[in-house]
């Protein structure tokens, strides 16, 4: 259609070499108008992408803070002794209060876990809050409503939950990070999950970094491109990078959890806990994620090694260094910033990965800190997934707070990747 118009415009020249005339000018205007409209459309697409990111962040922050309505089983004010409020009482009186309000069996169990004489005052205070006061979350509101519609939130709380305590709560607190998992949303924390994530990622790095860099060196420095075996390895790595992560989870389930159970449960060392001796351990998870990020590390490593100028190698060879000496003393040090940056990005992928670990068998609920590579585990994304899957609002708030922790962790990691790269670049510039 357009081409036809242009032909008409050219076919009716009104003199001179350049086309002109009213039709021509109209068409130029139309073309330019179309150009402006589409420029706006392109910009709108970009803006919508940025809006999506903003909505994502807004949604998470919104859910992490806000008003909560809480109803206590027993008002803490009633537990006050002689006018002294509960949180100012000495330890002995707190134990008495606890004894008076919970069953003898439960008291015995607590004493059996840790004798009361050895417990701290805060610990007993916590037990009283948990067992005697028993705060129950009735409803939660988002940050946006809490700030801009404070009045209606209060009115709604008053109407629907008379007698409830309504206060502003930040779900992301220091105790949220230091508490272990709990079925009580007000006391639940992500400590176990963070420790689990760190353990798993440590195993992942130990497993995939040496192998990944080794494979990258082999492919770039030793392998003949034309040999079918090396071409197979290269094609294979490119294809592995596109395999859905859940497939790696199934591989991990079948190989690490099932076939190598004796190894991954720690039974061969005799260190495995009986309850964990089914192979669903930190080491299985770490190795599964290691396989998952291996192609990423190899591809990044190859690019970094390829970027090392070959004059450096030739100079090394010229001085009589062996092949490995050239690689170890010259190629690797100059490629290291690139390799490390790629590795850190791959690790942040591993930290955010959820699906393969669900398949490998992350524990749904553990309150004990992981004790080593052969213990059961949960990781931050799994914790987020479980809290998100629960229908109650308060667990959604917990999930949002955990997401903030995860995003901050990832942001720190990525920032350190950038810093590391700059540091290396500066040192090389000085050298």
């Amino acid at each position: 259609m357009m081409a036809l118009h242009q032909q008409q415009a050219v076919s009716e020249p009104t003199g001179g070499l350049m086309p002109s005339g009213p039709t021509y000018h109209r068409q130029v205007e139309a073309r330019q108008r179309r150009g402006r409209i589409w420029a706006i459309i392109f910009q709108a697409a970009l803006v919508s992408g940025v809006i999506a990111l903003c909505a994502l962040i807004f949604n998470i922050v919104n859910q992490s803070f806000g008003y909560v309505a809480i109803v206590n089983n027993i008002d803490p004010a009633e537990l006050a002794v002689d006018g002294t409020p509960l949180n100012a009482l000495p330890k002995e009186q707190l134990v008495e209060i606890l004894e008076a309000n919970v069953s003898a069996g439960l008291m015995r169990r607590y004493a059996h876990d840790v004798p009361f004489a050895e417990r701290s005052r805060e610990d007993i205070h916590g037990l009283i809050l948990e067992r005697v006061v028993e705060p129950q979350v009735q409803a939660t509101w988002g940050l946006f409503d809490s700030v801009f519609a404070r009045g209606s939130v209060m009115a709604e709380a008053e109407e629907r939950f008379p007698g409830s305590d309504v206060y502003f709560r930040s779900w992301l607190t220091t105790s949220f990070i230091s508490n272990s998992q709990s079925s009580e949303p007000l006391r639940a924390g992500v400590r176990t999950a963070i420790l689990g994530s760190l353990w798993v990622v440590a195993i992942t790095i130990l497993f995939s970094f040496p192998i990944g860099v080794g494979a990258a060196i082999y492919l770039e420095e030793y392998a003949h491109r034309e040999r079918p075996l090396n071409r197979l390895i290269q094609t294979n790595i490119n294809n592995l990078a596109g395999v859905p992560s859940i497939i790696y989870g199934m591989l991990g389930l079948a190989i690490f959890v099932r076939v190598l159970e004796a190894f991954t449960s720690g039974a061969f060392l005799g260190v495995g806990d009986q309850s964990t001796a089914n192979g669903r351990t930190i080491i299985s998870a770490g190795m599964t994620l290691g396989l998952l990020i291996l192609p990423l590390i190899i591809i990044n490593g190859q690019e970094a090694i390829r970027a090392v100028p070959s004059s450096l190698r030739q100079a090394g060879f010229g001085l009589g260094a062996t092949h490995w000496q050239v690689i170890w003393h010259h190629v690797l040090p100059s490629a290291m910033p690139g390799i490390l940056t790629g590795t850190i990005l791959a690790i942040s992928r591993a930290i955010g990965e959820t699906a393969p670990l669900v398949v490998v068998g992350a524990s749904t609920f553990i309150a004990l800190d992981p004790s080593g590579p052969f213990s059961k585990f949960t990781v931050l994304p799994i914790q987020i997934y479980q809290w998100t899957s629960r229908p109650q609002d308060e667990f959604r708030n917990l999930a949002a707070a955990a997401i903030l922790v995860l995003l901050i962790l990832l942001l720190t990691l990525n920032a350190s990747a950038v810093l590391l790269r700059n540091q290396f670049n500066r040192r090389q510039a000085n050298a």
């Binding site: 970009l46 990965e353 997934y385």
Partner: protein
């Protein structure tokens, strides 16, 4: 000088690489007997003759400078090769594991290929194993995702490569990369707590169920936008500037240049980006596991709950799963289908890039 000699001797393997072998020195057997004297560095280069020795050239102390077999070097090379082989073993492992369990699955009496590919009901509890409910849900979520991601991603790529100033570009690209670096479980949360209420608010609570493929699909679309835009952007910026300038010189507007000159020239790269995005959307797991619903449902309505292949695998394996049960084997059969689907899409995209790439250099 003597010390230098010794050092050189100990590190010297070969001075002159064989021309055709390039830097690949440890494998250059033909020049293995090259002998080089340290003194020769001051004078003419010593012969590469196997018989030549240090005395003949410089008259210094006698050194045997022939190439030594270096066990350490070969050992290192062998180790590095094994590192590369791990990736092949991974693929082999995936194929064996998925294949073996799939064979066991089809070996049981309750299921055969016909029922698997012909059935429209997936109810393991009553022995119905028809894959279609899972496949339709997967395709529906992926289609919705593509309907969001392809136009938006392509528009962003065109804007970034053809319109944006260098400064704008340097700000916007990192923002999009942040979007790509957010873990998928976070997107799942976003789908459930933001997109679903939004859809229900706009279209009515009766029409849209709490769990639905539409919101999962839209959010998968948002997830793959950075992938589409950055891959397409790479393809578009790789088109040489002379093409653009020629087009402007003929009087084309910026839009005409972008759509009729640059885009067709980069079409193979853009198509590859699309296909990789589809493959990514099909394999996406956490978003659908959280937002699309639990329980296979043979439906074509995007506003109803349905379970995708990946969502089903996660739900089944999240529970207590006993080995060698039909449930356990069935998820591997689904996994194999998923693997073959994504693998063929990835291979297709690589083929398109190779086959249709326009070379301008």
């Amino acid at each position: 000088m003597d010390r230098l000699n010794r050092e050189l001797e100990s590190t010297l393997c070969l001075l002159l690489p064989d021309g055709e072998q390039g830097v690949n020195m440890t494998q250059s057997a033909p020049v293995a007997h090259a002998a080089v004297s340290a003194e020769s560095m001051q004078g003419p280069v010593a012969g590469v003759d196997g018989q030549a020795d240090a005395d003949a050239v410089g008259g210094g102390p006698k050194h045997d400078l022939r190439r030594k077999p270096r066990v350490g070097e070969s050992f290192i090379q062998g180790f590095l090769f094994l590192c590369g082989a791990v990736s092949v073993l991974t693929t082999v492992g995936i194929v064996i594991v998925l294949g073996r369990e799939t064979l066991l699955f089809f070996a049981s009496e309750e299921v055969n290929l016909l029922k698997f590919f012909g059935g429209t009901e997936w109810q393991p509890a009553i022995g119905r194993f028809g894959i279609w409910p899972l496949v339709t849900a997967t395709l529906m979520a992926s289609l919705i995702a593509m309907a969001v991601a392809l136009p938006v991603g392509l528009c962003i790529a065109i804007y970034l490569s053809e319109y944006a100033a260098q400064r704008t570009r340097s700000i916007l690209k990192p923002i999009l990369e942040v979007l790509a670096g957010v873990p998928t479980v976070v997107y799942g949360y976003f789908a459930l707590t933001f997109m679903t209420p939004l859809l229900r608010g706009m279209l009515g609570r009766d029409l849209v169920e709490i769990y639905n493929t539409a919101s999962a699909g839209i959010v998968i679309g948002i997830l793959v936008i950075p992938l589409v835009s950055s891959m397409s952007d790479d393809a578009l910026t790789a088109v040489p500037n002379s093409l653009r300038q020629a087009s402007y010189g003929l009087g084309a507007t910026r839009l005409e240049t972008a759509l009729r000159i640059v885009l067709p020239a980069a079409l193979s790269g853009v198509a590859a980006a699309f296909i990789v995005a589809i493959s990514r959307a099909i394999g996406e797991t956490m978003i659908v596991a959280i937002a699309a619903g639990a329980g296979p449902n043979f439906t074509f309505s995007p506003f109803r709950a349905a379970e995708t292949m990946t969502g089903h695998i996660v739900r089944i394996s999240g529970g207590d799963l006993s080995y060698d049960s039909i449930d356990y084997n069935s998820i591997f059969a689904i996994g194999l289908l998923l693997f073959l689907l994504t693998l063929s899409l990835n291979i297709l995209s690589q083929w398109i890039v190779r086959r249709f790439r326009e070379e301008y250099e």
